[in-house]
Symmetry: C2
């Protein structure tokens, strides 16, 4: 394949119309469901190797790290991506932050306050399960702040993301794009399975009733924050296997670009080997 | 097998002599290396299922959580346990905290200050990669605090662990017991492999020279903090496959004892299903 998956799934610059982007698509999928899953496992191993190098770099003073931002409507599969894609990486190198409804304490701060505290440390693959974008999504749809306050946030987000990039963070933002119909199927599946019923809340259906408003809020957010330093990818997510493969591949491409290298030893290897070999076996 | 692995590997009450505990042992191993690894995979799947239930419980207001404390000499395999055992669990339900040399800021606080901040949230499987025990291990061997200060810490640790237990934390403390000889082999292996050289520091050999002092410090720590609420397990760790299986099995037994249950829905399932089915397909 000629183009990278990142080029292919990068959100359009300029006006964004989500209805023009097919949530059931599978561009560049390496094959059917089984073949794609197999490719995802192979990508996962490569990702684990690359992340280990990034971790080593961070351990020895490097500043680079990756932040995967996951956004999407309820049931779009943020949790599934964490389990199946991020789960392929050594958990020691992963830090996951979930952003639920802000607490009273968090609400007394600027909306980016709680986000800054969760930016991954050097060497880590950080994941945001929801993020600062909630403050221009539900924040906008539910009018949780004055319109002019929300309006200002897009620029604040771009500034924040630029700062993080300057500090060594590579930001990858994925919108998990599902159809209105698919969400209904998945909510019904949650209701039908006791093992999933705990994930459901009646309020999920109230949010679903605002689907068009949320889609518009996503379009606006993507339009206004789809920068080159922190690009948005729109991931067709009606097919879970495609969604997982695509995000794994985008992460792999991102890490390959970073090309982290194992640090060279700052000590004399032979000298240290002799120190070990020469010690008495007295204990 | 009659006894649980927890009973079998529980550190002795009363005086502890690590030289009497075989680091190459493999008590209750389900078979040879391959069979034991296969058993570990099966335990890992069970562990993932149980942890998901614990997570669900925490998501719906439960307070319970598990904290795995990993301690052991350099190269004893703390990182390997995280990768191979903890890696079997959905990363969304895992929180890992590493305790390195304290920073200047941390040193201005009580030694438990930085530890309290990392206690896992309800529903989580927390892992401490090193822990507050460093303050009675390297703290003691390197005399990083006055003897009477260190002496007081054992009781402070027991009190802290009791508090956490009261708050819903089940604490599992594992000492990864390796032989002096095995450590040498592993340090040499690090020096021989470019992919591992970054993990080595010349100071590791200086610490190794204090092996008997560290073993005594471990014996004292285990003797004085091996409480029923926060028991110590001594894990024979010269064989990596045994070590991984044993800790996975101990975690599995611990979660099975907790017996986390999927929360019952607090809504009327049928009513919500009808709400979904009755909505117009207008979007």
């Amino acid at each position: 394949m000629a183009a990278s998956l990142r080029e292919l799934l990068r959100a359009p610059t300029g006006p964004v119309s989500l209805t023009d982007l097919d949530p059931r698509g599978k561009p560049h999928a390496p094959g059917d469901k089984d073949a794609t899953r197999a490719a995802m496992v192979a990508d996962g191993e490569q990702l684990a190797t690359l992340q280990e190098r990034l971790y080593a770099e961070g351990f020895r003073g490097g500043r680079r790290r990756v932040l995967l931002v996951l956004q999407g409507m309820d049931t779009s599969g943020k949790g599934g991506v964490i389990r199946h894609v991020v789960g392929a990486v050594n958990p020691q190198g992963v830090s996951i932050a979930g952003f639920k409804k802000p607490t009273e304490a968090e609400l007394r701060h600027h909306f980016l306050w709680r986000v800054r505290r969760q930016v991954p440390e050097p060497g880590m693959l950080g994941v945001f399960d929801r993020s600062h974008y909630e403050d221009v999504l539900i924040g906008r749809v539910r009018a949780l702040a004055a319109p002019e306050v929300i309006e200002k946030r897009y620029a604040e987000i771009n500034r924040f993301e630029q700062q993080q990039t300057d500090a060594g963070v590579t930001i990858v933002k994925c919108f998990l794009h599902i159809s209105h119909w698919e969400q209904k199927e998945r909510l019904l599946a949650r209701l039908d399975d006791h093992a999933k019923q705990w994930k459901f809340e009646p309020g999920d259906i109230d949010e679903r009733a605002l689907w068009p408003e949320y889609q518009r809020a996503y379009e606006t957010a993507v339009e206004r924050t789809n920068t080159d330093v922190a690009p948005w990818y729109v991931i067709p997510s009606d097919r879970k296997w495609y969604r997982n493969w695509a995000i794994g591949r985008i992460l792999r491409e991102t890490l390959e670009d970073l090309d982290p290298r194992l640090p060279e030893p700052t000590y004399d290897v032979e000298e240290q080997r002799l120190r070990l070999l020469d010690e008495g076996n007295s204990h």
